[in-house]
């Protein structure tokens, strides 16, 4: 009886890296919306990068430990505390003792964080992934092994963003880029992130984009696709986005920026910057290498 859910939070979901091979069944890839945060959080408690963790959204859950459990909260800097004991620093590992109540509150920035426990949570596999189909609910029991950990952290509690990329997502053109008569506006405008955003898609509001008439027959889509709805507004598909879609796609968020897409906070703003394919590739390789570098450091300093 490892962690019992006293309050579920806004939308707390057990995630790994999802189901990349099930789109042909209409099942979205799913899994962690911020893959880098999942990997680094898992690294801090000695797990493989894709171990099952609890994704927190805006307001976290309250959980009671039934046994000693080594944890970390990584990603957006959620306020958290062990009731009647101590505040929990985001990005620093801590150990819950039997009976401890972990209260995870809101986050002052971003949207999502990951509660990772040593050994990972356990969940039933569906189509080769233990990512849950529904969020946790009150009285649910989150299975994990007994563990303890000394305090350790990275120099940050979420991966730093280069200065000129704050509030900016880089994109490459989408398959229907040339349908849009006012594509220029797409790069000049500042878009507002709407509260209806979720794991399926981030809804934005900005100037209405005009396009040539015509309907698109539904075709495969992927997370990061920037669809323009019939009222000229963008929806950027998230990890739980549908597998096929009929809205024309003006652009696609590059791989290196998909994690930051998942952290766009309702009420905030975002701009788009076009890059060429080579730049997208270099950015992805650099990001992968940075994450791998930190994971390796965590691995080699584990016993120190």
């Amino acid at each position: 009886m490892p962690l019992t859910v006293l309050e579920p939070g806004l939308y707390s979901l057990l995630v790994d890296t999802g189901r990349p091979a099930s789109r042909h069944l209409g099942v979205p890839v799913g899994g962690a919306a911020d893959r880098a945060a999942l990997a680094l959080g898992n690294g801090l408690v000695g797990n493989p990068p894709d171990a099952l963790a609890l994704e927190l959204t805006m307001t976290g859950p309250t959980l009671r430990a039934e046994q000693r459990t080594a944890c970390v909260i990584f990603g957006s800097p959620f306020f958290a505390a062990v009731a009647n004991k101590a505040r929990v620093e985001p990005g620093t590992t801590f150990t819950l003792e039997p009976g401890d109540v972990l209260k995870i509150g809101g986050t002052p920035g971003g949207v999502r964080g990951y509660l990772c426990v040593a050994g990972g949570f356990a969940g039933p596999p569906v189509l080769n992934s233990a990512s849950a189909l529904e969020p946790i609910s009150t009285d649910a029991v989150l299975a994990c092994a007994e563990s303890r950990v000394r305090a350790r952290s990275l120099p940050f509690s979420s991966l730093p963003v280069e200065g000129d990329l704050v509030g900016v997502l880089r994109i490459v053109p989408g398959p229907q880029f040339d349908w849009f008569l006012t594509a220029k506006q797409f790069f000049q405008a500042e878009y507002e992130v709407l509260p209806a955003s979720n794991r399926m898609g981030v809804r934005l509001r900005g100037p209405k984009l005009e396009r040539r008439p015509g309907e698109l027959i539904s075709e495969p889509v992927a997370p990061g696709a920037v669809q323009i709805t019939n009222d000229g507004q963008p929806i950027v598909l998230g990890v739980d986005g549908q597998t096929i879609g009929g809205y024309p796609k003006i652009a696609h968020v590059i791989r290196a920026d998909l994690d930051r897409l998942a952290q766009l906070r309702p009420g905030g703003t975002v701009r788009f910057r076009q890059v060429i394919a080579d730049e997208a590739e270099v950015a992805a390789a650099a990001r992968e290498s940075t994450i791998r570098g930190w994971l390796t450091r965590l691995e080699v300093t584990r016993g120190l």
Binding site: H24, L25, S218, V221, G245, A280
Partner: protein, 224 residues
């Protein structure tokens, strides 16, 4: 055949028609390169999803242009499914009759007489987009505003297409009836319908509906 990158982790391929897309998807699947994640046909397009850490889209496109299409893989025979439908559970038959100028009985007869092909799976897990409706049934627009909840098993149509809602969802298609069969069980990995399969509807009464309720598609009327 044209190619367009869909971000950095997929390539979208446009084929001349729906049958060509199914053949192309089968050929890519059969070739099974190590970097391949998934192949998603939808109408006349195919999404090829790959491990972007292992290969770039330009290389995937070059491979798709040459190797994937040169390979003469045996065509995968389409499977035949018969889905029983109780049209007495209709909700929009009058609306469809009005739009098509047919009587309600004619609408049901024509819907059940045609054979359909699964052109795409999506919208929700396992939702089959079936086409195309006979001309006399085509052109009925979606409901002015979608229903908040469409019951699992509901059979609907709009424009040139018909389909079955495998799970409860909001939906704007015109509902003609319901199948008692389970068409999807996500938790159990049960997805009997694939793109390219053939589907025919068989009219049943309420008694047979009750008898079949909850059975899986294969157990009642599996692939022929």
């Amino acid at each position: 055949m044209t190619f367009h990158p869909l971000g950095e982790e997929a390539v979208l391929v446009y084929l001349p028609d729906e049958a060509a897309a199914v053949r192309f998807a089968d050929a890519v699947r059969a070739a099974k390169p190590a970097w391949l994640h998934d192949v998603v046909p939808a109408y006349a397009s195919v999404g090829v999803f790959f491990n972007a850490s292992a290969i770039r889209s330009a290389e995937v496109i070059a491979w798709l242009r040459t190797s994937a299409t040169r390979r003469k893989s045996a065509a995968v025979a389409p499977r035949q499914h018969t889905i029983p439908v109780c049209y007495e559970f209709q909700q929009d038959l009058a609306r469809v009759a009005e739009h098509t100028g047919l009587t309600p009985e004619q609408v049901i007869d024509k819907h059940a007489a045609a054979e359909y092909t699964v052109y795409a799976i999506g919208f929700v897990p396992g939702f089959p987009y079936l086409g195309y409706l006979p001309d006399e049934l085509s052109g009925v627009p979606r409901l002015p505003s979608p229903r908040v909840r469409v019951e699992p098993g509901s059979v609907g149509l709009t424009a040139k297409q018909t389909g079955v809602y495998p799970l409860a969802r909001p939906g704007g298609w015109n509902l003609l009836g319901r199948t008692p069969l389970v068409l999807v069980d996500v938790a159990d990995g049960y997805f009997p319908l694939r793109v390219g399969d053939r589907v025919q509807f068989r009219r049943i009464g309420e008694t047979e509906y009750r008898e079949l309720e909850g059975e899986r598609l294969t157990s009642a009327s599996g692939p022929a």
